[in-house]
């Protein structure tokens, strides 16, 4: 029996039992759709995080106080491991490094902001004038922190804060009370939407010295350093480390990380998550494959008389095996195709529901899902097909 005939025969056989065919295609399509949708979700989350990190600014080197120990306990550390705080002077010193374009010290805290009887919890960010350019932020109104007056009692507020405290009034020039200090609003940030970890629309930015006084501290939370160029990131990191080491009496008591390294880590973690999710979804494909086997075994039993007849008409074992294999393959292929469409529709619905999430199934996942579906269908179709081919014609014919 040639290939077109085998396929036509298998198609007629599948069409001859519509309910059975529908259920099998459904099971297979759910498996494929699960892989497509779940990997779309996983990969979408990965891309979302990567994009958000990129939005932090580019060519960034981040300085954290304290050394992240990786070498275990060292007796030398017990004597000398007094962690020196990061200071505003440290940040200023870093601007002298040749590879560094600009720096911004950051101190962070929470407080209450009051205006005209309205009160709101806000995140306070103490920093300097360079922060705006370093973070690639935009102003909606007014101006940012001044370069030359580090002690000025002024504030730049996020868009949400502006809306909630000032409503329809103009915020510029108004005096805001924060933690019993009065600050004048000189600027409003453009609305930026959700940022990673911190919503830029809900912050109040103060000069770093003012913020430190408010929180009664002279330490910093971070220093953000922008390298002059992408190729200079590693050099900026080295120079930063050296300068801080020199300023801290030869003690390397800060951790300097690059944005790229953080990005790569997130990329890896979320990439692994996507693989994991795909593997879990693939289990449903294997289950669907077992269902194919079950259904094909039932089909062999139901069509025993027909198999006997085909043998009497001179069908070789191979022809019968191929006919049943082709049927399993057709059902799997139809299921895989339906599942692919279903999965893409699901990913489309996800994107429509959460526009921020770029939920596209990666190509490898789609190919793997389709491939696994076909392979599972064929693999699990082999046993029933062989059973059909080996039936004793006399017994098979007697059954009907």
């Amino acid at each position: 029996m040639n290939l077109p005939d085998t396929l036509r025969f298998a198609t007629r056989a599948a069409a001859g039992a519509p309910l059975r065919t529908f259920l099998m295609v459904l099971a297979m399509s759910i498996g494929v759709a699960a892989v497509v949708v779940l990997t779309a979700l996983g990969d979408g989350a990965r891309r979302y995080v990567v994009d958000e990190f990129s939005a932090l600014g580019s060519n960034l080197v981040i300085v954290l106080p304290g050394r992240s120990e990786t070498g275990g306990f060292n007796p030398a550390n017990a004597i000398t491991a007094t962690v020196r705080d990061l200071t505003v002077e440290d940040a200023r010193a870093l601007t002298r490094a040749p590879a560094v374009l600009r720096t911004a010290p950051i101190t962070i805290g929470t407080s209450e902001a009051v205006f005209g009887g309205r009160l709101r919890d806000v995140t306070i960010v103490g920093t300097t004038a360079d922060y705006l350019r370093l973070r690639r932020m935009e102003l909606a109104q007014g101006r940012f922190l001044p370069d030359d007056e580090p002690h000025a009692a002024v504030a730049v507020i996020g868009a949400t804060i502006r809306d909630e405290l000032f409503g329809a009034e103009s915020a510029l020039g108004k005096t805001l009370r924060i933690d019993d200090r009065r600050v004048r609003v000189i600027g409003v940030l453009a609305r930026s939407g959700q940022g990673l970890g911190m919503n830029a629309d809900e912050v109040v930015i103060l000069p770093v010295v003012v913020a430190q006084a408010m929180f009664n501290t002279n330490t910093l939370f971070r220093i953000l350093v922008e390298a002059k160029d992408r190729s200079l990131i590693e050099r900026a990191k080295m120079q930063t480390t050296e300068i801080l080491k020199a300023r801290h009496d030869g003690e390397e008591d800060v951790t300097v990380i690059t944005q790229d390294a953080v990005l790569a880590t997130f990329d890896r973690i979320l990439g692994a998550l996507t693989y994991g999710v795909a593997a879990i979804a693939a289990i449903s494909l294997v289950v669907a494959g077992i269902l194919v086997m079950n259904v094909m075994l039932v089909a062999v039993t139901q069509r025993t008389g027909e198999i006997g007849l085909l043998k009497a008409l001179g069908a070789e074992g191979r022809a019968i095996r191929n006919a049943f294999l082709a049927e399993a393959a057709l059902l799997s292929a139809a299921g895989a195709l339906a599942g692919y469409l279903l999965g893409q529709a699901g990913a489309f619905a996800l994107r429509a529901a959460i526009p921020a999430l770029p939920a596209h199934a990666p190509d490898w996942a789609v190919l793997a899902a389709l491939g696994t579906a076909l392979a599972a269908g064929l693999l699990f179709g082999v046993m029933p097909a062989r059973r059909a081919a080996r039936l004793d014609p006399v017994l098979a014919l007697a059954k009907r």
């Binding site: 029996m1 040639n2 005939d5 025969f9 007629r12 056989a13 069409a15 001859g16 008389g305 027909e306 006997g308 007849l309 085909l310 043998k311 009497a312 008409l313 001179g314 069908a315 070789e316 074992g317 191979r318 022809a319 014609p393 006399v394 014919l397 009907r400």
Partner: protein
């Protein structure tokens, strides 16, 4: 040369502790073009004989020569080819594939043999006309009467122009008139030169055959007029 030569055929079934000798020390020679009725009570071995002749079953001992060729030692696939090309089966319960049309059922052996679709269509069309089924080509078996179904089955059995037709109670599921029609059809084919071997309970039907073989307990008790 004889079409069929059986010598020393033994076929033993073991059912639990019972050993059933379906055929024992069985010899038979059938010339090409003969018309043979095989009769006997249930369990006399006539179905086993038909299955052996049709290469659906293998004897435990003895030799079977079909057209001078020893066929018992052939592989399963080689036997399938012999069945396809030299033997046509007609069953009591027709054995049509329910989801296929009359034309497609008739075309099955051609499809299994890998005959070109154009040639296939031509031969099926002729068979449909020959067996008075021209206006039933697109009907499925459940849309056909019993007589029409058996005619489809006979058309299918003869489409490969076999040397031998094995009919197992071909009228068993038909009323007397349609049964007679079907037998006349088979006899016409026999008149055209095809060897016809028919298993039947019906003594009237058996009496029509030119040669009658009566079996009992796996042995010939009567073979006339050979």
């Amino acid at each position: 040369m004889m079409l069929i030569e059986l010598s020393g055929i033994e076929r033993v079934f073991t059912l639990g502790d019972n050993v059933v000798r379906a055929l024992t020390q069985f010899d038979l020679a059938v010339a090409a073009g003969e018309y043979l009725a095989v009769m006997g009570a249930s369990g006399s071995g006539k179905s086993t004989l038909l299955n052996l002749l049709g290469l659906l079953d293998r004897p435990d001992a003895g030799t079977y020569r079909l057209e001078g060729r020893a066929v018992t030692t052939l592989s399963a696939d080689q036997q399938a080819r012999v069945r396809r090309e030299r033997i046509g089966f007609v069953f009591q319960s027709f054995h049509l594939v329910p989801r296929l049309t009359a034309a497609e059922n008739i075309a099955l052996p051609l499809m299994l043999a890998g005959v070109e679709p154009a040639e296939r269509a031509r031969r099926v069309e002729r068979a449909l006309a020959d067996f008075g089924l021209a206006n039933r080509a697109g009907h499925r078996p459940d849309q056909l009467s019993g007589g029409q179904r058996q005619r489809v089955a006979i058309a299918r059995a003869t489409i490969m122009r076999p040397a031998l037709i094995l009919a197992d109670e071909p009228t068993g599921n038909l009323d007397r008139t349609t049964g007679a029609e079907v037998v006349r059809l088979l006899e016409m084919l026999n008149a055209g030169g095809v060897t016809l071997i028919m298993v039947t309970h019906d003594t009237v039907l058996g009496a029509r055959a030119r040669r009658r073989l009566v079996l009992q307990d796996g042995r010939k008790i009567c073979d006339e007029p050979a």
